[in-house]
């Protein structure tokens, strides 16, 4: 299993760079993770999505798909794509240190 270092701490990630163990994640790691996704600055709106991903994962054991994000996060779909252009659910999951959401829809 590959390891990566964020905010000076070693973490276990899978081949795609998603956290294997979400408990290893801290908020201090998010800016570096975001930079790896081509997102230079994390705005309050980014953080709203990231925290929502974490709480959904904590509650359900899986991250939400883009559609569920759009319906329940309070950030509309169009804006989600402005914040995370390469796929909001996927990129936000990576920055939030949770596994990649697996829904088809």
């Amino acid at each position: 299993m590959p390891t990566a270092t964020y905010a000076g701490t070693d973490v276990t990630v899978n081949d795609e760079g998603f956290f294997e163990d979400p408990t290893q994640w801290t908020e201090a790691m998010a800016p570096e993770l975001a930079a790896g996704e081509g997102i230079d600055t994390l705005t309050d709106r980014h953080w709203e999505v990231i925290r929502f991903m974490r709480s959904e994962y904590d509650a359900k054991g899986t991250g939400p798909t883009v559609r569920i994000l759009g319906k329940t996060s309070g950030v509309p779909v169009k804006e989600l794509y402005q914040l995370f252009p390469k796929g909001p659910a996927k990129q936000a999951a990576k920055v939030a240190g949770i596994p990649k959401p697996r829904g088809c829809i």
Partner: protein
């Protein structure tokens, strides 16, 4: 990485429920992965973006062996409606949106949507018949320009 898909163009040519959903799901899935996606609606596939028709898309119960239903039974009045209703119920349980909502959502994800000019002319339709997510009525040549550099999927 290297071997990744960066862009897809999906052609939807059929007007049945089972003809439309796969293309929409693939476009949606592409956008979820951050892949550029364009949808091109042609022939009966135009019903998927037709304001009045998109709410009435049905599953075919005749000539559809996948239904596992005798052809004569499938031809009974109302059978297609019943099968569609059952399928819609199941999809609703699975949080799969109906076609009008799905088209709007896919538009919001930034996918392009286009109607085929030859088909639009053939069915005597105009731009006003289509939902606002449709960016234009285009020719095959224009479609190839838009699709350039990506994969093309015909459904």
């Amino acid at each position: 990485m290297g071997d990744t898909i960066e862009k897809v163009s999906i052609i939807i040519s059929k007007g049945s429920l089972d003809g439309i959903y796969p293309g929409l799901i693939m476009a949606n899935g592409a956008r979820a992965e951050g892949i550029e996606a364009n949808l091109f609606f042609t022939f009966f596939g135009l019903d998927a973006i037709h304001r009045k028709r998109m709410e009435h898309i049905k599953v075919a119960t005749v000539g559809n062996p996948g239904m596992h239903m005798a052809t004569l039974l499938g031809a009974l009045p109302g059978m297609s409606g019943i099968a569609t209703h059952m399928m819609a119920k199941k999809m609703h349980e699975l949080e799969i949106p109906d076609i009008p909502e799905f088209v709007e959502f896919i538009g919001d994800t930034g996918a392009g949507m286009y109607a085929c000019k030859a088909s639009v002319d053939m069915f005597d339709m105009t731009e006003d018949d289509f939902v606002e997510q449709v960016q234009g009525i285009i020719t095959v040549g224009e479609f190839y320009d838009i699709a350039a550099g990506g994969e093309i999927i015909f459904t």
